[in-house]
Structures are given as structure tokens and as C-alpha cells.
Symmetry: C2
Subunit: 317 residues, 2 copies
DNA sequence: CAATAAGTTGTTACCGCTAACACATTTTTG
DNA sequence: CAAAAATGTGTTAGCGGTAACAACTTATTG
């Protein structure tokens, strides 16, 4: 294993200079920096994370708290995780995953929290290390999320452009920011075009949205678009429209939200607002590492645009 | 932060004795052990992973290689990951996740590999640290997997018990162990009961299994059970049987395999062989840590039984 | 029962890296 | 142009553990 010392000898400088080149390059003259870089290159030096951690009184570990029940959770966590893990990797950080069942708040340099609901807020606010939330919230804590309002605006405008006579919103009946933002995106856009908003709120399960359609089928005349707050709701809607003999996409349109896995399981493929899940994961990781570096300084929020991914559940013209 | 030294002082022994109590308890008298345990308890001592790693020339990191494309991958990885992560946590180990796009074989104490196909074998065999494979294979490398053969045996026997006149197997058309084992479970059981095996092999996508049913619908008279090598295939089959007007579960039965997420998305819920995914993840973690401790000694294989989880796609009597 | 082995605990040095300080050397300043 | 300030580099000590060895006590043996 190549150590700082090896590099130092090769470059004819002290260990400390090499360490400085890595951590405080501005304190070293360009000349020496050059020498050190070359030595590092030649020896293929890789810093030892454990030694670094020990000297800095850090852990080089970020904990990811998943507060939702995974059994019922969309598979997008996988992508989020991949994004986080890859980014952490680049900075010689590693990951510990905690589920709601296994919250051992052990040692780490910071936290990323997903699936936080109102009831979890006290727990999270009690954390003593830099924390980033995945998912918008009003607690003032730094967060990363999709631009939920903009996302639904995009869907609604698409529906208007495609001349759906009626555009109905199927929301999720939870009192959480993301749900409100999505709904707001729909409502504002409908207002803007002088259309009347029609909103239903359901539990986020396909069987509920299917049951809802069954029960209210008479209400929805052809030429209706259902904009759903999740792909899961969209799935149930498609299922029951087919069951009722409705024609998708000619008479009925369905747009989902999330664009991870489920949209592709649907038949036909669900038109959806695809979230940049992996990128958001990377952003969470970058934010938390930055917050660690800056001793917990507030990082603000970061919103990511979604992409309207046209599938077979909306008409093209 | 509480250190070894603090504990040592409290217990009136040397650092080394405390260290021994943790790592080589058999070398310490019961008397001192007792004292040290009490001191650790009272001070709530938590070992510092970085220091341990540095002193042992270890990294306290296990890398998880996911070689499959995640976009098309069943969400069970999430559960596997949770199992791995929790177990590693208990041993002050943390995780680095590498995807096929990001294979930077940096420093770690060992590897867990998932989604390995034939083509990946050379890469994996080249790894220089203890490695455990998730998924059966014939390379002689230690692995953890479901008992695939037994699993399909269970499904087939259930079909026989439920008096399905015809029991058809829908396999996955890949040349991998798990696929062969599942098929073998079906074939052997059919043989055992003097029934004729009927096997089709398809690409593991619901649209292919749906297309297959459409094309061959006339072949399948009522009272047929489809045993599928994956829930995904099962999903397509259900979809097209419904499309063709077939009656599930009275005339047609469908059994899937995996039991993660997809079975619950199906309507009605898919009868499936549920894998003990989280437990298998924990087993992978334990095995690799043990292998690290024993300097790479072979660990053998570990098979986990699946559970036949009855859904709405098979009849009860 | 002396010589030797076995068992138990403490001491020392080191794992690889960095902060804090010490020491030159150069630049700025009145 | 001497004193003070700024700059660049090296030295030292220590982060929290562990292996290897030393030192001492207690069993075993012929």
C-alpha cells in the first residue's frame, strides 16, 4: 500500500506538504504541487480513509435513514441509493443504511433522511450531525426534491394542449408538502387556462384508485384525462378503465408521476413524470458532504425538474 | 467520545486488557472480563471503527457489486440491501455500492456480488478480497440463494394438489443456474407424479409473456396452471388471460416467483414463491465478514427456502 | 523441588494521516 | 533599511486502536 510517506520521499518533500497538496493546495507553491502530483500519479497513491477519519475525528460515514415501510414503497429508493452511494464513493465516504426498524443512531458524519412524515420531525430535528432531507418540507431543514408543482403544471398543460375536455386530478390523501405542491401545480394551471379543477384524494394504492373508478365510472365521460399524483394510482386507474371497457388512450388518458419501474410494468406503458432520482441522490450526498465540510452551515434547497415521458396512456394528437 | 482508555481507567486495567475483552475474550480471566464489561456498559463505550480499521490494516468496508442494469431489475435489491446493511452495521462495517457503470474496485475488505452472469465471472474471479455471490453458480465461489429447485417443487405440488389438469412452466430464457434449478424443480416433480412436463422459455418481461399467451391462447384449455419463473412473467400472463376473457382463478391459475412488490401490484394479487430476501442479504453479509475473519477460507453455500404465498390467482380448493 | 511450560497482564511501538506549532525565508512597512 | 508581517515548509504529537513482546505469576513435570 502506498502511503503519504512514500509520496513524500519520491517528491523530496515532507509528509505534511503532501497532505497539504491534498487538503489545502492554496498553501503550497505551484512548483512543489507539481512535483507532488507527479509522485502521486506515478505511485498511484490512494489515501487511506481510515487514517484520515481517525486524524480528523470523522467517521467517513453517512447514514441514510429510510423511515417509510419498504414493503409498500416504490422501488425508486434503489435509484436514490445508487446516486447517493456513487457520490459518496467519490469522496471516500461510505454508507450505512438504517430502516425504521433499525434506527441505531450510531456514529456518522451526517445523515440523509427519506420518507420523513410529520410524526418523524422531532426525531430528525434531534439529530446532532448535518442532515439533508430527501423530500420537500416546511421545517426549514435543507432538502432535495423534484419540482413537484412545476411537474404537475407540465402534465396539466400537456392535457390542455391535447384537448382533453375534462382533466381530473387524483391526489394522494396525505398531509405532506409534496402532495400539496403537486396539487397546487394542477390547480394553478387549470386556473390559468380558465378551466375548472376537479380533485379527488385517495390512499396511494392501485386497488383504491381502481375501486374509485369503478364506483364513479358514470361520472367520467369520454375525453377525460386523469392526472395522478403517483404511478401507483395511475396503474389502478388504467386497470379499471380497461375493465369498464373504456378506450385508452383515445377516450381516456392517464398520466402518472415518478417514472420508476411501475410505469413500465403498466400496459400500455404509463405516460408519467419521470423524476431524476439518481441525480437527486447524488445531490443529497453532495449537499450533506458539503454541510459536513462547512460545519453544518445551511445549504438551502435544491429542486429537480421532472421529464414528461410519453407512454401509451395518452393520445399523441 | 468514550475511548478504550476511558474504559481501562474505570476498570483499573490497561487498554490492552479492554481490547482483549473485545477481541480475544478467552485470553482474559472472568473476573477482569466482568469488571471491563461493567465499565463499558456504564460509559456506553462504542469502538471507533476508523481506529480499529487503521490498526488492523482493514477498511471496515464491504463493497456490493450490482452487475445487472437496475432499470430493468426487480425491486428486491432494496430488501437485499437492507439485509446486508443492517448486518454490516452490527459489526461496525459499512457499505459501498457499485453499479456496473461505476466499478471502481477501490479498497475494501470484501465483496458481495449480485446479478452475476456468465460473462462477469472472470472479473469476479479476479477480485483479490473475500467474495460472496448472491445467486447460485457453478464457479465454486461461495454463494447464497433461494432454494430454487425446492421452490418450484413446492409450486408444482401445490398445482397437483389443487387438481389442475394441465400444469405449464414458463421459464426465463437465460443460461443461468437459477433458471435451470427452477426448471428442474418443476420437471422432477412432474415426473414424480407421472405428469408430462410442458416448458416454454421467454425473456423476462411481462410484455413477452402476455404476447405469448395471446399467440397460443387456443393451446390452453381451462383448468390450466401457469407456473412462472418470475412474478414479472406472471404479471404478463394474468394480463393477457384477462384480455382473452379467461377466468382467473377458476379456469386458469398463475403462480409467480420472487414475492417482492410485483406480486402485490398484480390484480388480483399474484400467488407467488416469496423469497427471504432480507434474510439472504444478512446471510451474505455474515458470510463475507466471516470469510474476512478467516482470511478468505471457503464458506460453502447457503440456500433459503421460499414461502408459497397464496394470492388471488390460484383457486383454494 | 528446581526447571520448564503455560497462563495472564502490562508496555511499547506503530497503523496513515493531520492540526498546531516552530522555523526559515521573503515581503511589506514606516 | 531594521523591524514586523506574511509566506512556505518541516517537525512533533496524537487521533483510538492492536500485534508483538516483555514481565510476572501459577501450574506441570521428571
Amino acid at each position: 500500500m502506498v502511503t503519504l510517506n512514500d509520496v513524500a520521499k519520491k517528491a523530496n518533500v515532507s509528509k505534511m506538504t503532501v497532505s497539504r497538496v491534498i487538503n489545502h493546495p492554496e498553501q503550497v507553491t505551484d512548483e512543489l504541487k507539481q512535483l507532488v502530483f507527479e509522485a502521486m500519479q506515478e505511485l498511484n497513491y490512494r489515501p487511506n480513509a481510515a487514517a484520515k477519519a481517525l486524524a480528523n475525528k470523522r467517521t467517513q460515514i453517512i447514514k441514510l435513514l429510510i423511515l417509510e415501510e419498504m414493503d409498500t414503497t416504490e422501488p425508486y429508493y434503489m435509484f436514490l441509493l445508487a446516486g447517493i452511494a456513487n457520490e459518496l464513493d467519490k469522496h471516500a465516504y461510505s454508507l450505512q443504511l438504517l430502516t425504521h426498524r433499525n434506527i441505531q443512531i450510531g456514529d456518522s458524519d451526517g445523515y440523509i433522511v427519506c420518507g420523513m412524515r410529520q410524526k418523524d420531525i422531532p426525531l430528525i430535528q434531534g439529530l446532532k450531525k448535518p442532515t439533508i432531507i430527501y423530500g420537500e418540507n416546511e421545517t426549514g431543514m435543507d432538502y432535495v426534491d423534484s419540482n413537484n408543482e412545476e411537474s404537475m403544471k407540465k402534465a396539466t398543460e400537456y392535457g390542455i394542449k391535447m384537448n382533453y375536455e375534462s382533466i381530473v386530478y387524483i391526489g394522494i390523501d396525505v398531509d405532506e408538502c409534496f402532495a400539496h405542491s403537486r396539487e397546487r401545480g394542477y390547480v394553478k394551471t387549470m386556473e390559468k387556462y380558465g378551466r375548472e379543477a376537479t380533485i379527488y384524494r385517495l390512499t396511494n394504492r392501485s386497488r383504491y384508485s381502481a375501486a374509485f373508478i369503478k364506483e364513479n365510472w358514470h361520472t367520467f365521460s369520454p375525453n377525460t384525462l386523469f392526472i395522478c399524483a403517483s404511478d401507483r394510482l395511475g396503474l389502478g386507474i388504467i386497470r379499471e378503465i380497461k375493465e369498464q371497457g373504456g378506450d385508452i388512450p383515445n377516450d381516456y388518458g392517464v398520466i402518472g408521476h415518478d417514472g420508476v419501474f411501475l410505469d413500465q410494468i403498466a400496459y400500455p406503458h404509463l405516460t408519467t413524470l419521470k423524476q431524476a432520482t439518481t441525480e437527486m441522490g447524488a445531490a443529497c450526498a453532495r449537499m450533506v458532504l458539503n454541510k459536513v465540510k462547512e460545519n453544518g452551515k445551511e445549504q438551502g434547497n435544491q429542486l429537480f425538474d421532472t421529464e414528461l415521458k410519453i407512454g401509451g396512456t395518452t393520445r399523441n394528437k
